[in-house]
Amino acid sequence: MSISNSNDGSLTPRSQHASNCFDDLLNSIIADVASECHRIARLGLDRSLEAEEEELRLSQPSDSTRGGAGGADGSSKHGVDIFGNSHPAVASETFECMNCGRPIVAGRFAPHLEKCMGKGRNARTKTTRSSTVTRSRHSRGSPVSVYAPYSRTPNGSTSGISEDLSDNNFEEH
């Protein structure tokens, strides 16, 4: 533990003093830590280490390669769920769009709604959103705060925009 400056192993008084100082400081620091830990343990403030270690042990990764988008359960998409059912990649349930009233396939409802409500980055009418309402013949959307007047005309047919609202026909601009 002594620091020696000379090659023959003997200590100069100066290095002895330095060594003593260092030991003093080191002992003091060790006692600081010991005192703090003693207090924590005595007052019952230390966290339960066993529980932590148990959790860590349980979460040790197994040897199987980890992750990829589906992981090991990716196969469930081709099997059955816990209710014994299987589902298509695109949800096939159909219902009425609450905006335009047309029957829509569930799995494609979001892209339909986006166009139907005139929202999103591809919506034509983004530019008119903040200005006063201007409605052109082919306007398929409208500013947010106004309900899109897609409701059927009195004679039951929609106006000339119907063919533009087909899901497969994505954008015309």
């Binding site: 003091s28 403030l45 992750g67 988008a69 998409k77 059912n85 569930a106």
Partner: protein, 572 residues
Amino acid sequence: MSSPPPAPPASIPFPPPCPHLASYRSSLSRPFRHLRRCLRACPLGNGPPSIRLDPLAHPHCAACSSSSSPCPCPPRLLACLSCAQVFCPSHASSHPHHISVDLLRAELFCCSCRDQVYDRDFDSAVLRVFHDAFPITSTTAPTTRKRRRVHFHHWRPDPSHSHLIRTRSTPLPLHSISTHPCGLRGLNNMGNTCFINSVLQALLHAPPLRNFFLSDRHNRFLCATRSPPRNNKTNITTHNGDHLCLACDLDQIYSAVFSGDRTPFTPAKFLYSWWRISSDLASYEQQDAHEFFISVLDRIHDNLVEDQQNSNNNAQGDCCIAHRVFSGILRSDVTCTYCGFTSTTYDPCIDLSLDLDPTHITRHNARNGEKETKQKHNKNLSAPTTLMRCLEKFTRPERLDNEHKFYCQKCKERRESLKQMSIRKLPLVLCFHVKRFEHSTMKKTLRKIDSCLQFPFSLDMAPYLSSSVLRSRYGNRLLPAILDNGESEVGISSGASSEFEIFAVVTHSGRLDAGHYVTYLRINNSWYKCDDAWVVKVEESTVRESQAYMLFYVQKVLYYTAGDNNTIDEPT
């Protein structure tokens, strides 16, 4: 059937005094008061409090200097409390008096037991010196309205309720319920809406929220006919009388999911309402689940806030069910490193966003210096980042850098300071958001951090409460009320417990721009994977190995307190 309300948890149990300490205490009317003159405190972080007997004295162990074999570098110097003689621990047992004090650390030492001992009044005296020297100011801590705890009453239907139930309701199909837990139902993906489905599954199974809606606390049929609230900006009644209320749509989803029908449900109306109300987020593209979560809670708040007064009381959770369930209070302390002056502020929070501990990554890199290519394959070798470490980092004192020098009111100038966060009040449901998407400073892009995060299924939040953090800042001394600012009372008692259980994990897999969200639900100690329409049972290990993005924990024990209306009991 009712049992007495459980007593609030005891504060830190103090070890009983050793007989020597006990007799010392009894011999003085006010023990340790006389020490206050000698106690010296330093600004926080600069060292423990110490004892100084005489400014010019050079304390040393007389026995050591006079003996032929002095103790090398004694770690402690002790001063007797009765006669002020100074000695080192090895010579302490020969001293006639029992109780002494460590000069450098202000800790009591019993010479007869040869061990460090603890006393509440002594700690109090030490901390009072601290407080006098380095006062703390704070903005007024948000007052938590004290509600008295009440017994939990099981609800029994009265005759009119029973009649209604018999004549106006249909029982759920028994077969469907007995084999699989209630409320398990897939949600159809409507086109890049997995971020919605994953969060919805977590919300559907958050016990306080689930109970709220299943107890008919927001009835969508009654809501639509009610006149819109004064604060009408989001309850848009549209051209054809459409009523937009996200809470109503959520109510519909709860009904559908718990109905016993197991075919996947399509939350189309919910999407429609959400897009109508949050036009800025309405677009057909992948979005962030956490952003969606915040947005939904905000919209529910807007819909349900009826009283203008209560709308500002998010921290109290009195404004709406979303805040009652998810809202907690964070405490932030900024301390001047120069003079020790601390400024404290409180802010409500709806979730905790945690940085993934970067030190883990850099340590790993340092160790495998040259073996760059092998790093990706050697993940198993290094310890994983854990949720506890992230929380420790969250509550660790952080030195603010030069650009963020804090204006110290005492020094009257900008000083380097330490900032420390802690949790003053825990919410009923704790949502952790793991910040996996970060800005890469080099490439100026967002990138995803894929590293695995270990998280416990049972979590004790006590070490991260303001009371604990504050106490450890003062060397784990027992805090007198003057410094505590009500933290111990608030942190523990209002939520009753700091122990949480996990119930949902929202995971993200894949890349930033092309990824997929999946939710793991824990019901009756089994784990289920909800991948849009697919609900599959999985093993615990699958959940532990997943890339957690949002973690949902609920308090283990919920207590009821008296509501404003005395006939209604509400969970705290």
